[in-house]
C-alpha cells in the first residue's frame, strides 16, 4: 500500500495490444491530469475496454507503458495496481453473486487493511479492532448511498442499477487515486443514467481521484468530462476538450457521426440532472 494520497496523474504511452492476429489497441497514448475526468468514447470494438484492461492489468500489452505519477505499472499484477490506488469498475458489473452487499463493501476494506488468518483465528485484539473499523466504514458508505435495505441481499438478487450503486460504493471505499469506469450506465435506463451524473461528480469529490471514463452516452461524457478522447479501430483519432472534439471533423466521422441531435440532447439532460435527488440511487434497472 503506497503512502501517497490524492488524485494521480495517468500517462499511457504507445500502448499496443494484440489478440492473435487482431490488433485491438494500436499505439494509444493519453494523459489524465490529477483530478481530471477524461472520457474515452468510440464505436463498439474500437478498443476502449481493452485499453482499460491494459491499464488495470487484466491484459498484458504487447508494447507501451502505463505510468501512475511516473511509476511504471506494466509489470504489476492487477491486485498490485489496485494497491497503488488504481481502481476499476466492470462493464458487466457482475460483482460477486454469492456475497451480500455488506460483504462486497467489506472486501474493498479488506484490501486496504489486510488481516492475517492467524490473527483472525485467535481473534487477536488488532484483528477485532480492524474488523470493527471496517464495519464502521462500510456502515457509513451504506448510509451515504442509501443501500441499507439491501445490506444483506446477495448481489445476484439486485437489479443492475442497484448493483452499479454497490460497485460505486465499493469504489469510494477503495479510495482510488485513479478510477477507471467502464460504461457505468450500461444496462440501466436513460432516466436512471441521468441520476448518475451527479453521483459520479460526487464520487470524484468524495474520493478525490482522477477518473478515466469509458461511456457510450455521449451527452453524459460531454457534460462530465474536461477532456474527451475518441477512439476508432484501436487508435486515438481525436482528443481535447468536449468543445474541441465536438468540432473535430475526424471525431464526428468516427463516432459522433450525424450526432447533431445526439449532442443536442445534452441540453435538456443538463437541466434535468440538477433536479434529480442524490440520495435515491437505488434505481431499478432495465
Amino acid at each position: 500500500m503506497s503512502g501517497q494520497r490524492g488524485p494521480a496523474r495517468l500517462e499511457v504511452e504507445g500502448l499496443v495490444v494484440d489478440f492473435g492476429g487482431l490488433r485491438a489497441v494500436d499505439d494509444v497514448s493519453l494523459v489524465a491530469e490529477p483530478g481530471e475526468i477524461v472520457g474515452l468514447i468510440g464505436p463498439n470494438g474500437s478498443g476502449k475496454t481493452t485499453t482499460l484492461d491494459a491499464v488495470s492489468g487484466l491484459v498484458s500489452p504487447d508494447a507501451g507503458s502505463v505510468r501512475l505519477d511516473g511509476e511504471e505499472l506494466v509489470d504489476y499484477l492487477p491486485e498490485e495496481r489496485a494497491s497503488v490506488g488504481l481502481v476499476r469498475s466492470f462493464q458487466d458489473c457482475r460483482l460477486f453473486p454469492e456475497l451480500a452487499v455488506e460483504d462486497v463493501l467489506l472486501l474493498a476494506e479488506d484490501a486496504k487493511r489486510p488481516v492475517g488468518v492467524v490473527s483472525t483465528t485467535f481473534q487477536l485484539p488488532w484483528a477485532r479492532r480492524s474488523e470493527r473499523e471496517k464495519h464502521r466504514a462500510v456502515d457509513r458508505v451504506i448510509a451515504a448511498f442509501g443501500l441499507e435495505p439491501f445490506r444483506r441481499h446477495n448481489t445476484s438478487q439486485l437489479s443492475t442499477g442497484t448493483r452499479r450503486v454497490v460497485d460505486l460504493a465499493s469504489i469510494v471505499l477503495a479510495e482510488p487515486r485513479l478510477l477507471l469506469l467502464d460504461e457505468p450506465t450500461a444496462g440501466i435506463a436513460q432516466r436512471e443514467s441521468e441520476a448518475f451524473i451527479p453521483l459520479l461528480r460526487r464520487i470524484r469529490e468524495v474520493a478525490d481521484t482522477t477518473i478515466l471514463l469509458v461511456e457510450h452516452d455521449v451527452p453524459l461524457v460531454f457534460d462530465l468530462c474536461s477532456k474527451v478522447v475518441v477512439m476508432e479501430v484501436g487508435s486515438v483519432v481525436s482528443s481535447g476538450t468536449p468543445d474541441e472534439v465536438s468540432r473535430d471533423p475526424r471525431a464526428l466521422a468516427a463516432y459522433l457521426g450525424a450526432s447533431e441531435e445526439a449532442l443536442a440532447v445534452s441540453g435538456p439532460i443538463r437541466a434535468a440532472t440538477s433536479s434529480v435527488p442524490d440520495d435515491e440511487p437505488a434505481t431499478r434497472g432495465e
Binding site: P78, E79, S89, R94, P97, T121
Partner: protein, 674 residues
C-alpha cells in the same frame, strides 16, 4: 541407465493407450471446459460387455467390437445428456459429477447382462501375430495396439479437420457463445464430443486389456488416468495432436522408468515431478485456454451463509444444534465399543469434510488428494506420536501439512482453472505409493537414510497417547475426544466464515477479475484456502492415525479422497452442518448396510450424482427446510395460545422483527426472481 530398444517399443505401445485417453480428455475439455474424470471408465462398460459378447454369445470379434463401440458411444452420449442439466453450474460441480459418473459406470460393469460369466478368461484378440526384440516377445494384443491405435487417431484427426461436425466442435471450443450465434448447434457438438470420448475410451480399454493380468473391471486405474491427464496437459487441454504425441512420450518415459527404477515408489515420484513440471512449463498456454471458465453461477447449490434475520428461526436452529450435541455427547455412554469407534470415525471424517468445505465450497477448487494430506498428519503421528504431546502434535502436524499443501498447490493454483484436482490426484498416488510405502529413502549424496514413510508399510502399529493427562485408550473416551476435535473445528470454521476469510475466498471464486481490481491477491487467496484446508486435514490425520491404531498404505487410498468430496457435495457444498451430515451419511450408512465396493460406490457415486442434479443444496438444505417447518409450527402454536388481541412487543411474534418484512418488500421493489 540403460534403454534397450524393446523398452521403447513397449513404451510406445502403452503410450498409444494414454494418447487415446488424452484425446478423449481434450475433446471433452474443448467443448465443455471440464476435466472429465470419468474418461477412463466411459469405455470400460463396453469393453467388459465385449468379453461377454465374445465368450458367452459366441459372436465373432468384429461384430462384438462394433456392438461394444456403439455401446461406448451410447454411454458417452448418456453421460453428456446427464451433465447437460448442469450447463450453467460451476465447472467444479460438473467435474465432481464426472467423478460420480465414473463410480456409477464402475458399478454398471457388475450387472449380469454386461459382466461375462467367467471372469478370468483372456481378453479376446482377433489376430495371432507376435514379434520379438532380443529376448522380449510382444504379444498379439500389443501388435494389435500398434496397428489400430494410430489408425483411430488419424481417423479422428481427419474427422475433426474435414467433417462439418468437426468444424462445429472446433468453433465451439474457440467460443461457445459466438458459435451458437453463428448457428452451430452447440449441444450436438457437445454430444458428439462425448460420443467420441466414449469410443476412444473403449478403444483404450479393448486394446489395453489383453496385456493386463488383472481382472477386467480394474483395467483403467487412476494411475492410467493420471498419465493421460499429463499428456492432455502437455497439449494445454486443447491441442489434440500434441496431446496424442505426448501420450506416446509419457508412455516411453514411464517404461524407461520401470526398466531402470526397481521400485514403484521412485516411478511415482518421477511421474509426480513430471506432472508438476508440465504445469509449470505450460502455464501460459493453459491460462489462455481457460478464459471462459469463470462464466457460471454458484448460487444454486452452494450456500455458505444463510441469512434469515428471523430470531425465532435462529432460536429453533440453536436449540436443534444444542440438543443434537448433547445427545451425541451422551451416546457413547449407551452404545457399545463398536458404535463408539464408529462415532469417533464419523467425527474425524466430518473434520476432513470441513477441510474440503473451505476449499471446494468456498474457494471453488477441488482436491482429489485430501487423504494424501491426511496421510501427512498420520505420518507425524507415526514418527512423533511417542515423543510430542498430542496437544502440540496436532497444531504442528497441521502447520506441516499446510506447508505441503501450499507447495503442491502453487503450480496448479497459479493457473486459472481447476488443475489443482490433477496435481492433488498425483500427490495422492505419490503419497500412497512412494512416501508411505518407503520406510526410509537413501539420500544419494549425503549417504544418509531419510525415514519419512510408515515404519512398517504393510501394518503400522501405534499406541494412543494421553491428551492432557486423559488416557484415550478406551473407545468411549476416544469418541469424546474426536467429538471435541470436531466441535472446535466447527467453531474455528464458523469464525473464518463470519470474520472475513469466507468473503475473500468467495470473491476470488465468483469473479477473479473484480476481486483483483479491488486489490484481493488472487493466487495468495487460493493458496490460503488450500493451506487452511491442509491444516485441518493434517491435524485430522493425527487423530485418524491414533483412532485406527493400526494402519497401512491403503488406509490412505485416493478413493477415500473421492469419498470426502462426495460428503461435502451430498451434505451441501459450502455449508458447515452439511459437511457433518455428509460424513454421517457416507460413513454411517455403509457401516449399517455393509461396506462392499458396490454399496459404497452406490451411496457415494450415485448419491453424488443424484444430489448434484436434484438437490443441489444437499442434506443441509433438507435440514434447513425442517428448521423452517418447525419454526412455522412453533409460530402457529404461539399464535393459537396468544390472546386474539395479543399486544405487540411482548409476544414472541415481535421476535419476527421488521427484517423479513423489509426484505420481502425490498425484493418486490427490486423485482427479484428467486
Amino acid at each position: 541407465m540403460s534403454i534397450p530398444s524393446w523398452v521403447i517399443v513397449q513404451g510406445i505401445i502403452n503410450g498409444l493407450s494414454y494418447g487415446l485417453l488424452a484425446l478423449g480428455l481434450v475433446l471433452v475439455y474443448r467443448t465443455n471446459r471440464i476435466l472429465n474424470f470419468a474418461q477412463g471408465q466411459l469405455g470400460v462398460v463396453a469393453a467388459v460387455f465385449m468379453v461377454h459378447c465374445y465368450y458367452d454369445f459366441h459372436f465373432n470379434y468384429l461384430f462384438c467390437l462394433v456392438i461394444a463401440l456403439a455401446l461406448a458411444g451410447a454411454v458417452g452420449a448418456a453421460c453428456e445428456l446427464l451433465l447437460r442439466r448442469l450447463f450453467n453450474r460451476p465447472r467444479v460441480l460438473v467435474m465432481v459429477a464426472t467423478i460420480g459418473l465414473s463410480q456409477v459406470l464402475f458399478v454398471l460393469t457388475a450387472l449380469p447382462f454386461i459382466r461375462p460369466k467367467k471372469l478370468y478368461k483372456p481378453f479376446p484378440v482377433p489376430i495371432h501375430l507376435t514379434f520379438s526384440i532380443g529376448t522380449y516377445q510382444f504379444t498379439s494384443g500389443e501388435v494389435l495396439t500398434l496397428i489400430v491405435a494410430p489408425i483411430v487417431a488419424i481417423a479422428l484427426a481427419a474427422f475433426i479437420k474435414y467433417s462439418p461436425w468437426g468444424l462445429a466442435m472446433r468453433a465451439m471450443s474457440e467460443n461457445a457463445d459466438s458459435a451458437r450465434l453463428s448457428g452451430v448447434w452447440v449441444r450436438r457438438a457437445s454430444t458428439l464430443a462425448w460420443i467420441l470420448a466414449g469410443v476412444l475410451s473403449a478403444f483404450t480399454a479393448i486394446l489395453n486389456s489383453p496385456s493386463q493380468t488383472t481382472s477386467l473391471t480394474d483395467v483403467l486405474s487412476p494411475d492410467l488416468l493420471l498419465l493421460a491427464l499429463t499428456a492432455a496437459l502437455i497439449g494445454a487441454m486443447v491441442n489434440l495432436t500434441v496431446a496424442f504425441v505426448a501420450g506416446i512420450g509419457v508412455g516411453v518415459v514411464y517404461e524407461i522408468l520401470v526398466a531402470n527404477l526397481s521400485s514403484t515408489a521412485s516411478q511415482q515420484l518421477v511421474l509426480f515431478l513430471l506432472l508438476i513440471a508440465v504445469l509449470l512449463v505450460r502455464v501460459g498456454a493453459l491460462q489462455k485456454g481457460s478464459r471462459l471458465e469463470a462464466r457460471s453461477t454458484w448460487l444454486e447449490g452452494a450456500v455458505a451463509v444463510r441469512r434469515t434475520g428471523d430470531r425465532l428461526r435462529d432460536r429453533v436452529g440453536l436449540i436443534g444444534v444444542v440438543t443434537t450435541t448433547v445427545i451425541v455427547i451422551l451416546l457413547p455412554l449407551v452404545v457399545g465399543v463398536g458404535q463408539s469407534f464408529l462415532l469417533g470415525q464419523i467425527c474425524l471424517y466430518a473434520v476432513i469434510a470441513l477441510s474440503l468445505t473451505i476449499l471446494t465450497g468456498w474457494a471453488g477448487q477441488v482436491s482429489l488428494g485430501q487423504f494424501g494430506l491426511v496421510a501427512v498428519g498420520a505420518l507425524m503421528a507415526n514418527h512423533l506420536g511417542g515423543s510430542v504431546p498430542l496437544i502440540l502434535l496436532m497444531p504442528f502436524a497441521g502447520v506441516v501439512t499446510a506447508v505441503v499443501a501450499v507447495l503442491i498447490g502453487l503450480p496448479a493454483l497459479r493457473v486459472r482453472g481447476l488443475y489443482l484436482a490433477v496435481t492433488t490426484l498425483a500427490f495422492a498416488l505419490f503419497m500412497e505409493q512412494t512416501v508411505l510405502a518407503t520406510p526410509c529413502f537413501n539420500l544419494p549424496l549425503v549417504h544418509r537414510a531419510l525415514c519419512t514413510g510408515l515404519t512398517s508399510p504393510a501394518s503400522t502399529l501405534i499406541n494412543r497417547p494421553t491428551f492432557l493427562g486423559l488416557g484415550l485408550d478406551s473407545e468411549r473416551v476416544f469418541a469424546w475426544f474426536s467429538l471435541g476435535v470436531l466441535i472446535v473445528s466447527i467453531l474455528v470454521v464458523r469464525l473464518w466464515r463470519d470474520r472475513g476469510v469466507l468473503r475473500r475466498l468467495v470473491s476470488v471464486r465468483d469473479n477473479e477479475a473484480a476481486a483483483a481490481a479491488l486489490g484481493i491477491p488472487i493466487v495468495r487467496t487460493k493458496l490460503l484456502a488450500f493451506a487452511l484446508s491442509g491444516f485441518m486435514a493434517g491435524y485430522a490425520g493425527v487423530c485418524v492415525a491414533f483412532g485406527l491404531e493400526r494402519f497401512e498404505t491403503t488406509t490412505f487410498d485416493p478413493s477415500f479422497s473421492v469419498l470426502v468430496i462426495s460428503m461435502v457435495v451430498i451434505g451441501g457444498l459450502g455449508s458447515i452442518p452439511g459437511a457433518v451430515l455428509g460424513a454421517v451419511y457416507l460413513v454411517g450408512l455403509p457401516a449399517i448396510f455393509g461396506t462392499t465396493p458396490t454399496i459404497s460406490f452406490l451411496t457415494s457415486g450415485l448419491g453424488l450424482l443424484a444430489f448434484i442434479l436434484y438437490l443441489p443444496g444437499g442434506l443441509a438444505q433438507v435440514l434447513h427446510r425442517i428448521g423452517d417447518l418447525v419454526t412455522d409450527g412453533v409460530r402457529w402454536l404461539q399464535r393459537r395460545r396468544a390472546p386474539p388481541d395479543g399486544t405487540a412487543g411482548t409476544g414472541p411474534d415481535a421476535d419476527e422483527g421488521p427484517t423479513p418484512a423489509l426484505a420481502r418488500s425490498g425484493e418486490e421493489a427490486l423485482g427479484v426472481t428467486g
